[in-house]
């Protein structure tokens, strides 16, 4: 089963590699991993999307908790939560008709065109991974030059909060 694990850890050099190293050393699967400092600059927040049986996910959370840099973690899957991912998509749009159609598709998916040249658009789009997949499918008739995806971030709905 797919799990989204959010981790608060010390914002120190090497902390990310400890987490990544844990996954590779123990043979756990990482689907995506995003990390950045939080409003407290001494803290980083990491969102790890992983999958495995209940036993494996239990071990993943225990082993993560065991890392000295890890302060707290939350398995989002246990709570109602919101997931977001961002993609930047560069599409070749040489013909006027193509420009029209890509603009239309972008609007439908509530994306934004954030860079325009004679030949290309760069589109910014956010949402759940499946929405991003659907958008990429929709623009696939056009030459897609480049796709960059952020990996998933997650936050629990309501009162549940991962905080110190």
């Amino acid at each position: 089963m797919r799990h989204i694990i959010s981790v608060l850890l010390e914002n120190e050099s090497g902390a990310l590699s400890r987490v990544a190293g844990l996954f590779s050393a123990r043979g756990y699967n990482i689907e995506s991993l995003t990390v950045a400092p939080t409003d407290d600059p001494s803290l980083s927040r990491m969102t790890i999307v992983t999958s495995g049986s209940d036993e494996i996910v239990e071990q993943i959370t225990k082993q993560l908790n065991k890392l000295v840099d890890v302060i707290k973690l939350l398995d989002m899957t246990a709570h109602p939560h919101i997931e977001r991912e961002m993609a930047l998509v560069k599409v070749r749009v040489g013909e006027a008709a193509d420009r029209e159609e890509v603009k239309r598709l972008t609007d439908i998916f509530r994306g934004r065109i954030i860079d325009v040249t004679q030949q290309t658009y760069v589109i910014e789009i956010t949402g759940e991974g499946s929405k991003l997949d659907a958008f990429l499918e929709a623009v696939s008739p056009f030459p897609v030059l480049e796709v960059v995806r952020s990996g998933v971030m997650g936050i629990a709905r309501g009162d549940v909060a991962l905080q110190l």
Partner: protein
Amino acid sequence: MSETSSSSTAITGAEIFCRSLQAEGVDVVFGYPGGAVLHIYDALYRQDKVSHVLVRHEQGAVHAAEGYAKSSDKPGVALVTSGPGATNAITGIADAYMDSVPLVVFTGQVPTSLIGNDAFQEVDTVGITRPCVKHNFLVKDVKDLATTIKKAFYVATTGRPGPVVVDIPKDVTAASCEFEYPESIHMRSYNPTFGGYTGQIDKAVDLILSAKQPMIYTGGGVILGRGSEALTEFTRKLGYPITNTLMGLGGYPASDKQFLGMLGMHGTYEANMAMHHADVLIAIGARFDDRVTGNIEKFCPHAKIVHVDVDPSSISKNVKVDVPIVGEVEPVLRELIKALDAANAKPDPAALDAWWKQIREWQSQDCLKYDRESELIKPQYVVQKFWELTQGDAFVTSDVGQHQMWAAQFYGFDKPNRWINSGGLGTMGVGLPFAMGVQFAHPDATVGCITGEASIQMCIQELSTCYQYQLPIKILNLNNRYLGMVRQWQEFFYQGRYAMSYMDALPDFVKLAEAYGHVGMRIDKPGDVEGAIKEALAQKERLVFLDFLTDQSENVYPMIPAGAGQNEMILV
């Protein structure tokens, strides 16, 4: 503040290092100098509170620090230089990680300005040790040095103990600042557990008292958690059978009638059969290693399991347990004893009688029997004689292989911290440096190193260290001219194709011992074993190397082949 823990004038990083170690009460550091740690060595030279033991290889330094820690209640400390010094220390660090040994290893590093430039003797020590340490630090500023050392000792010795590496660049040891050693430390991200939850304790007691065929299975955690006395009280109160893992030997007195011997791959028939047939398993400070469980699918098929461990990730890692208790072994056992006293119920005496009757029947197999009439020296006999002649009171280190298993089977450990071996990583070469560390921790004790001719050669250069410090270690070399355990597996599982297991071209160990300044003795007849050991034990001042030429074909029995269940043992 005391003199050792603060200084209002600036002192160098190297001096801060020494003062911090003094503040931690460190009396001995095992190490080897090199360019990156020369400031530290100079500072060590100019003080007399922390002594330094010069080993002959960094691996020896870390193993010696392990031996020191495993036989005492203090952490071990090692000091090595950057690059090759650090990489040579890795085996010892990995060994300590697997066996949860409290250890602080200091590595020198190239100056901060050169880090990342492929400088001479540079290696990414923090990166290279990351998978095999409890935690590690790179100190980039002399102002952080004292606090980092404090954190290192705190992390290494609390919770589930383990090795912590502190990497110190050379310029940090040269730079100066005021010294203040923190009295205590708080790390928001590190909060080891102590006592267990009361609710779980009550559930455990109910389950324990409901048992008809109980079994207590304990590991190295009992010794690390200083829970030996509490375990003995707990076990005797219940009257249940108990087994120790290889790492747990001495956690319960081996001479006690409730003790069924070691369990696992080379454990006793009775211990493994009792495990297999148990209806309630009480696991304490043991981690269900594959050498214990055999085939996990066939492990304890009928048992409900209580598991006490300080490390939550050890619980339900290999085997799903019914009542998990996260906490330090000693306080949890005390809680369990209190709850047992308070409980109205008692174990079912009739069921327990029947269970013990069954166990006595398994014991009558006499699974550790060997040929006592042989004209060749039986390795088991050597260990047994050593046990008798030291009245079971020696500190015994071993290397890894057949001799290790015979030492575990035939030296009855009645006290904790007396049996020092490499259980987790299974590192050949540990025996001699372990013994050095033990002898430094216990200068007047008898320290025996039970080894084999292949293992001893992996760190044999440490004979030189033993000479320098006049350590009166007794080396019992069970020399069968083979990588014995490899040969045994090749005999059992590779139709006797002894690929590379024959150790031809061995040195003359007697002359080798003499070349290093020690006493060497060769023994090739069973009748001479006792006399030789007596003579060695009478030598109080010098190291004695006893080279026993043993029966080459002897195997370790009983044995559970890899992949089999605990009830599927090969007896003799």
